[in-house]
Amino acid sequence: MDISVNSATDIVSIQNLSFSRGDRKIFNNISLSIPRGKITAIMGPSGTGKTTLLKLIGGQIHPDQGSVIVDNHNVHKLKRTDLYTLRKRMGMLFQSGALLTDINVFDNVALPLREHTRLSDSMIRSLVLIKLQAVGLRGARDLMPNELSGGMARRVALARAIALDPMMIMYDEPFTGQDPISLGTIVELINDLNSALGLSSIIVSHDIEETVSIADYIYILSEGKIAGQGTPEQIKNLDSAWVQQFMNGDADGPVPFHYPADDYLKDLFES
């Protein structure tokens, strides 16, 4: 399953990637590509390594084998300064938001601008307000991160991720733990940003309904391999018991409900 690099259409291309933590193989020779300008979802149960995959794409951890090409650069062969230059064009939305807790909302969004540009203070102020307006939180600029609800924190983090106008955004579990209203807000924001700013988006998630509703293409990971891929329509009709169990959320199936154990009756009446 060798995917040829097509840098004109693909913003990220992962080839023959393997990665282990201790004895456990998190990825076993996987290849996938993320097209430009689209929303691509990577799904899988908790603990399959979705966050790990994003960290590999961002160059925070190194693979045991294989390569990750982002916008024509082999991430793990770059010099540190070049990697940092590349990262300025990759936004990442962490599961927890990862806002700095000792500065307020405004300063959090201003941080990448202050660190990486020489814009004047008034220019930075305008840019920050524009980004905060885009996520609907211009009025919350003076709040501290601990005064925000989970959904608001994630939106501030989103404003911060788009502060430098990146070419792509990676969303780590953007829907998890949101109330219905902020869920709807986030789904709409991801969609809007993708079409309005011409971004490429990678969504990592196990929330099926929301992900299926906005993704253009879906990869499903399981036990270090790609268990299925295709457009949402194709996935729904995929002929794989495991994928169907995952997509329908069935308790029992190829993934058993019970953690491996001895025979129940024997266990009960032992001793």
């Binding site: 961002g58 925070q60 990262r87 962490f94 927890s96 990862a98 806002l99 941080l111 990448p112």
Partner: protein, 260 residues
């Protein structure tokens, strides 16, 4: 038996590995210290939370230690009819030993543990990862200003401790026990040597401040990013700092005052 040696070997290896990571971490910080210069605000904020917020505990402890020294010193010295030299004794004990050592132990408990918990929680809440992904080096922006702040604050806090201790000794010795005020100060002036006592005391506290800040920051940075991991790292900071301070104190004292 083999199991014992296996475990011994394993823990030896992992402590060496940790020492290696710690040294590498220190090198990264030292390389990053210059980047603090264009961002003085970061340093000032840390000087406040590492240094200024330790003022109270250092002052109160200094006062009590000085008062005890005045009391104990008076009982011993008066046996020899030498209570006039109380000022000298109190000041020498403080400036040479107790100031740097006790202030550093308090600093490890007050500021070191706070640094470890702060950095560990920043790691657990992905703040450090988040900065890296924004192409901002957390070593430059978070770690280096804190190391510098610890390095600058420690000698000042130790000096504060000694100065208040001398006043505490005066309160007890002169105020309560009737030692002559003039001889308390003049004996001190005559007996304390600038080079031998004061400079050496300052050198000690600079080294302690550096060591404690390094240990605290490294334990936080190296912590397992869970609540349990951060809590263990905080404990390790206080314990390892105490050992390091006391061990270094012996070595430094031997080099400075002894003829070993």
């Amino acid at each position: 038996m083999t199991q014992f040696f296996q475990r011994l070997g394993h823990s030896t290896l992992s402590s060496f590995a940790k020492l290696g990571r710690g040294s590498f971490f220190l090198m990264q910080i030292l390389k990053a210290t210059l980047s603090v210069i264009p961002r003085p605000r970061l340093l000032i904020n840390q000087l406040y939370s590492v240094g200024v917020l330790s003022f109270l505990i250092i002052s109160i402890s200094g006062l009590f230690v000085g008062m005890v020294l005045g009391l104990q010193g008076f009982y011993i010295l008066s046996d020899f009819g030498a209570e006039e030299t109380l000022g000298m004794m109190v000041a020498a004990s403080l400036v040479r030993e107790l100031g740097p050592v006790v202030a550093a132990l308090l600093f490890a408990g007050r500021a070191g543990s706070a640094l470890t918990a702060e950095i560990g929680l920043m790691k657990a809440t992905e703040q450090l990862s988040g900065m890296e992904m924004m192409a901002i080096d957390p070593i430059k922006r978070i770690i280096a200003p804190r190391l510098l702040a610890g390095f600058i604050s420690m000698p000042l806090l130790a000096a504060l401790f000694s100065a208040i201790g001398v006043l505490g000794g005066h309160m007890v010795g002169v105020g309560l026990l009737g030692v002559d005020d003039g001889s308390y100060w003049s004996q001190m002036q005559a007996g304390i040597d600038f080079q031998d006592d004061i400079i050496n005391g300052i050198i000690k506290s600079i080294i302690f401040g550096f060591a404690v800040s390094w240990i605290a920051l490294f334990e936080g940075y190296d912590a397992i990013p869970t609540s349990e991991g951060v809590s263990r790292a905080t404990t390790r900071t206080v314990v390892n700092s105490a050992f390091t301070i006391l061990g270094l104190d012996f070595i430094l004292t031997a080099l400075m005052f002894g003829d070993i």
